[in-house]
């Protein structure tokens, strides 16, 4: 399927049109239960995200990077992953985390200001998301090289925004991936903005997908507000990776519906009209329309999904807020495998001060 859409010719994979109708010949053979599970993940992501923004305004959450508008990209990609696959995400990957089974309470715990929430549970192959832009793309390639060395049939997926494609690490990663034919899927959430700077200021390339051509592998642009397009492209790229077919760059063309983070005000650099135009293309609405045509959606189902998401979110907030504050020891204990004497002295000094030992 990917080969049929050439980014150099301006072709973009879209399975669902803006009204949610499947294009002939492109509709994947997904069971109703799988489709509904994807929808429920999108709703959970949107609900959990909205709650995070609310908590931030109330001072119960730290600075937060909203994923609103990225649900098709994130849930679609994660739904296309197989057990054993790895994810090297970045800081705007809420739906990806949740779809892979990362505990919501842990995710909240981290953004509330505690590192403990970023400890991926054992058995879950999600590397800690990167905050320095594009640096994780190299990690994913290294994991791909390790998978090749160990002869593991796994795909290593990494995500990043359009701004990341301007960073040197992105290019070094793409270059290594081409040379070593790594089992990577590079998934760019092209959401049109790196904070305030538009996509047109990041690259003069007509598409991001076409950059893959120069590195010796394939790239495809997909409609990033169409979960089935993302699922199809990432699924096919991941299957190729597992089968030794090398890397693929997938550009998901989407829009950041919210601010960059809670510290940002997007009204400074984009118009209301533009945002409203993209609101109409909301990835959740589009998928809902599709489910409706498939007879998989009605009001009662929607109410159930919404209630389930709201319940999960409330429970997670409660659990995260109930966790005890980090111990001072924890701040020191993970700097080295074993605490060196110099660090022990510093910890003892801080503890003595906290215990009122200072004169």
């Amino acid at each position: 399927m990917i080969e049929r859409f050439d980014p150099l010719k301006g072709e973009r994979l879209q399975v669902l049109d803006e009204a949610g109708r499947a294009r002939p010949g492109l509709e994947p053979a997904l069971a109703g239960e799988a489709l509904r599970a994807m929808y429920a993940r999108m709703v959970l992501t949107r609900t959990a995200d909205a709650k995070a923004l609310k908590l931030q305004r109330q001072g119960r959450f730290g600075t937060f990077a909203s994923s609103r508008g990225h649900e098709a990209c994130q849930v679609g990609a994660a739904s296309a992953m197989a057990p054993g696959d790895w994810l090297f995400p970045y800081f705007r990957d809420f739906g990806t985390y949740l779809t892979l089974g990362y505990p919501l309470a842990d995710y909240y715990h981290y953004w509330m200001g505690n590192e403990a929430g970023l400890r991926t549970p054992d058995g879950l192959n999600i590397y800690a998301f990167a905050i320095p832009v594009a640096s994780q793309v190299l990690h994913a390639v290294g994991a791909g090289m390790a998978a090749n060395y160990r002869k593991l049939k796994v795909a290593v997926i990494t995500t990043f925004g359009d701004g990341a494609t301007s960073e040197g690490d992105f290019h070094e990663a793409m270059n290594f991936a081409g040379v070593f034919k790594t089992p990577n899927v590079f998934l760019c959430y092209n959401n049109q903005f790196a904070i305030s700077v538009p996509r047109s200021r990041q690259t003069a390339s007509a598409t991001i997908a076409q950059k893959a051509v120069a590195y010796g592998f394939r790239g495809v642009q997909v409609d990033g507000n169409d979960i089935l397009a993302v699922w199809t492209a990432v699924g096919e790229a991941a299957a190729a990776a597992r089968a030794g077919g090398g890397p693929t760059l997938v550009e998901a063309y989407t829009y950041r519906m919210g601010d960059h983070t809670t510290s940002d005000d997007a009204a400074r650099y984009r118009t209301k009209e533009e945002v409203l135009d993209w609101e109409k293309r909301d990835p959740i609405l589009r998928f809902k329309s599709y489910l409706k045509t498939k007879g998989l959606w009605d009001e009662a189902y929607e109410a159930g999904v919404q209630a389930e998401a709201a319940g999960a979110v409330e429970k997670a907030v409660e659990a995260a807020e109930a966790r005890p504050p980090a111990k001072v020891e924890d701040l020191f204990a993970y700097t080295y495998a074993a605490m060196p004497p110099s660090l022990r002295d510093e910890l003892d000094d801080l503890n003595a001060f906290l215990a009122g030992g200072a004169r």
């Binding site: 590192e115 990690h139 994913a140 998978a147 060395y149 690490d169 070094e172 290594f176 080295y336 004497p341």
Partner: protein, 324 residues
């Protein structure tokens, strides 16, 4: 067996790679070429190109992919051709290598070793003589190791390769072939985090590492003729530092000189002087002295000798301390 530091490092790499198939080596020219200093000579023949990997020419790339390898349980070694070229990888080292263990509360430690030749004295081009170890000592989570002779090079590197923490392993290029030493054939570890008195004396403590240790020895010989006993502490691990050994020695001698070939300001000498001030002030008979490179860019070879501390400069500082 009598060997150079280059041979000692090569042996440590070969022995550990033979023992543990999680260990891989990657870098520029490390394969067929055996590295520009021939440190990895022959390893690609022994272990194959899957384990001795010539990478594209990209330092951030080399370190960045090594981080990803650790996620899948490998223990990579990255060679950076010269310390002066490590800076493109600085973001990966500071933002990821050093802190992933902490960020993930232990789920994703980064057991990798970054080896790089450092320092002046080999009449090299610009950017090939850097000694910027202090940049790395400032970063929590890193272990910074510098050997000063073939025996320690082999033992410290073996310990570094077996460490579960990331190690910046700095190889003094001017000592690569400067002296030979009897080094055991088999693998052995010299513990990380432990300094060593390489010479004992009662009058002055000189704290040095890497290529400055032989300079300290020469200076010690010079002033010994004048009746002065110099104790030389080879730090070996710069960070986390073995403060106890330094402090104990200075408490005994009452005088200290820190010797380093890095520029003075915010060099490790400042940290050591502060440490001595905090823990051994009342034992001091004179202020702590620093003998270092000046705060200038490393000059080209014709002027290099103005830059690098010499035994004569150290000897003068020792005499001045005695006369304080």
């Amino acid at each position: 067996m009598i060997m150079t530091m280059v041979q000692a490092i090569n042996q440590a790499l070969a022995l550990e790679m033979a023992r543990d198939d999680r260990v891989l080596l990657l870098g520029e020219d490390v394969g067929r070429d055996g590295g520009v200093f021939r440190v990895t000579d022959g390893l690609v023949d022994k272990f194959g190109p899957e384990r001795v990997i010539d990478t594209p020419l990209a330092e951030s790339g080399g370190v960045g992919v090594a981080v990803g390898m650790t996620a899948l349980g490998l223990r990579p070694i990255v060679e950076i051709q010269f310390m002066g070229f490590i800076y493109p990888a600085f973001n990966q080292i500071v933002s990821h290598v050093a802190r992933l263990r902490n960020r993930t509360r232990g789920r994703f430690p980064v057991p990798l070793v970054i080896r790089t030749p450092y320092g002046a004295g080999v009449r090299a081009l610009e950017h090939h003589s850097e000694s910027t170890e202090a940049l790395f000592c400032q970063i929590p989570g890193l272990t910074v190791v510098v050997p000063s002779d073939p025996y320690d090079a082999k033992g410290l590197l073996t310990a570094s390769l077996r460490s579960d923490d990331p190690v910046i392993f700095l190889e003094p290029s001017r000592l690569y072939r400067a002296e030979k030493q009897d080094v055991p054939e088999e693998a052995f570890e010299v513990p990380l985090g432990k300094a060593r008195a390489v010479r004992e004396g009662n009058d002055v403590t000189v704290i040095a590492w890497g290529a400055m240790v032989p300079v300290a020895r020469k200076a010690a010989d010079m002033v010994q003729a004048e009746g002065l006993g110099v104790e030389i502490i080879d730090l070996r691990t710069l960070s986390p530092m073995d403060a106890a050994t330094v402090v104990a020695s200075v408490k005994r001698t009452g005088r200290a000189v820190v010797l380093h070939e890095a520029p003075r300001t915010c060099g490790l000498g400042a940290e050591i002087a502060a440490l001595i001030g905090e823990r051994a002030l009342l034992s001091l008979k004179a202020p702590v002295r620093r003998v270092t490179a000046p705060d200038i860019t490393v000059p080209l070879p014709k002027s290099e000798d103005y830059y690098t501390p010499s035994p004569e400069r150290l000897a003068r500082a020792i005499r001045e301390l005695m006369e304080f």
